[in-house]
């Protein structure tokens, strides 16, 4: 491997599926469960996180030769905190209603381990362009999970999507889905489905191998 491999599409795709931050690496669970009671909140959270992730990966990758190794974590945390402050103030100034809905969870992006994880594991040892692609991919993976989770929870818990009534007035909303237990449950069932799919695939490859051997 050369010292600076060029940015490839794989840098983007890896974060979306194979190394998905939430369902594969179990990072960033706190926002993924806390704000996904409606699609609008999930989207707003994803956008704020994307902004912070892009900003921190960009700065960390460009400053990687300047930051001394001993204080790198502290420096990364400071960089992330700066971008979170910007995102927090921007949200408060432009869409105050969304900011109010998300409440303290915007500030809590700062302790989203996913962002620090990308800074430490990727941006601190790769080129700026690759780090940006990596940030985009990770953010996309995070967004997909948040939107799916919030869509399921809003549809079942309130009978609507993005505030638009879908299931009609005769639908009795499962209120529990928009409450905290629904968050754990939805993600849990999602994990079961992913595990089931993986097991099926494993069986299929094993069967194919047995056919070859025979």
């Amino acid at each position: 491997m050369s010292e600076h491999p060029p940015a490839t599409f794989d840098d983007f795709l890896r974060g979306v599926w194979r190394e998905n931050p939430v369902v594969v690496q179990m990072l960033g669970l706190c926002p993924a469960l806390a704000v996904t009671n409606s699609v609008a909140n999930g989207l707003a959270m994803s956008m704020a996180t994307t902004f912070v992730l892009l900003g921190s990966n960009l700065l960390v990758a460009s400053l990687k030769r300047v930051i001394p190794h001993e204080v790198r974590i502290t420096s990364y945390v400071l960089i992330i905190a700066t971008f979170v402050t910007i995102a927090d103030l921007l949200l408060e100034a432009t869409v105050p209603s969304v900011h109010k809905q998300l409440g303290p969870f915007v500030a809590l992006i700062v302790v989203n381990c996913m962002i620090l994880g990308r800074a430490e594991a990727f941006a601190s040892r790769n080129t700026v362009s690759r780090s940006l692609l990596d940030a985009l991919g990770t953010a996309a993976g995070f967004t997909v999970v948040l939107v799916l989770l919030s869509a399921v929870r809003e549809l079942l818990g309130a009978g609507s999507l993005l505030g638009v009534d879908i299931l009609g007035p005769q639908f009795e909303p499962w209120v529990i889905m928009v409450l905290p237990p629904g968050g754990f449950l939805t993600l849990g069932i999602g994990m079961l489905l992913i595990g089931w799919q993986a097991e099926r695939q494993q069986r299929r490859t094993a069967a194919a191998r047995a056919m070859e051997a025979a």
Binding site: M26, L29, C30, L33, A34, T74, V77, L78, A81, T82, V84, T85, D88, L89, G103, P104, A107, L108, V110, V111, N112, C113, L116, I176, L179, P180, P181, G182, G183, F184, L185, L187, G188, I189, M191, L192, G195, W196, E199
Partner: protein, 191 residues
């Protein structure tokens, strides 16, 4: 006085940090293999939370009045350094306790429960005593959640779990049930 008790009970049961606010999920799923370690981590968390509450109160009262936009940055820096100082102090005063806590102490820095505590305390405008009661309640609540989860998982090791639910899937479903149980406290104090 009743005000303080109510803040404590609210943080401990009604708005349990882990099970209803989703804070501190990393240790909740990560280090709940054994009851003993879970409780130990919880106790370390209580200590750091109490110290954080005092520090945050000080920052809010004397420093951040002038520059509220520095809140997030100053909180995270103060929390990180406080944990570092606590670690050094414990190492000096009681090496035995330091060894017992091991890796958990530094891990607390990146724990969203501590940062969440600082943010909630600020948003609700708690004073020093209220902040301490809140920190104690939140810490006890976290310890309770960790201990519950750990004791269930200790039993789970002996149970037959379908292979596809092993690991994270079953933990999430259990968390859902625990959270559901804690929803029962929701009406407490409403009247």
């Amino acid at each position: 006085m009743s005000d303080l008790t109510w803040i404590l009970i609210s943080a401990l049961l009604v708005n349990n940090f882990t099970l209803t606010l989703f804070l501190g999920l990393c240790p909740f799923f990560g280090v709940t293999g054994k009851v003993e370690t879970a409780v130990r981590l919880g106790v370390a968390n209580i200590a750091v939370m109490m110290i954080t509450a005092v520090a945050v109160w000080f920052l809010n009262a004397f420093v951040l009045v002038e520059a509220p936009y520095l809140r997030i940055i100053s909180f995270i820096v103060v929390i990180a350094s406080l944990v570092q100082i606590t670690e050094m102090a414990i190492k000096k005063i009681s090496p035995a306790l330091f060894r017992a806590l091991g890796i958990y102490l530094p891990l607390i820095t990146t724990n969203c429960a501590i940062f969440g505590l600082a943010i909630f305390q600020t948003n609700r405008g708690y004073g020093l005593l209220q902040g301490l009661a809140f920190a104690l309640g939140a810490g006890l609540g976290l310890t309770l959640a960790l201990a519950l989860m750990a004791s269930i998982r200790e039993r789970l090791d002996l149970a037959e779990v379908p292979s596809l639910a092993k690991g994270f899937g079953i933990s999430l479903i259990i968390a859902s049930c625990l959270s559901l149980a804690f929803m029962g406290f929701a009406g407490l104090g409403a009247g």
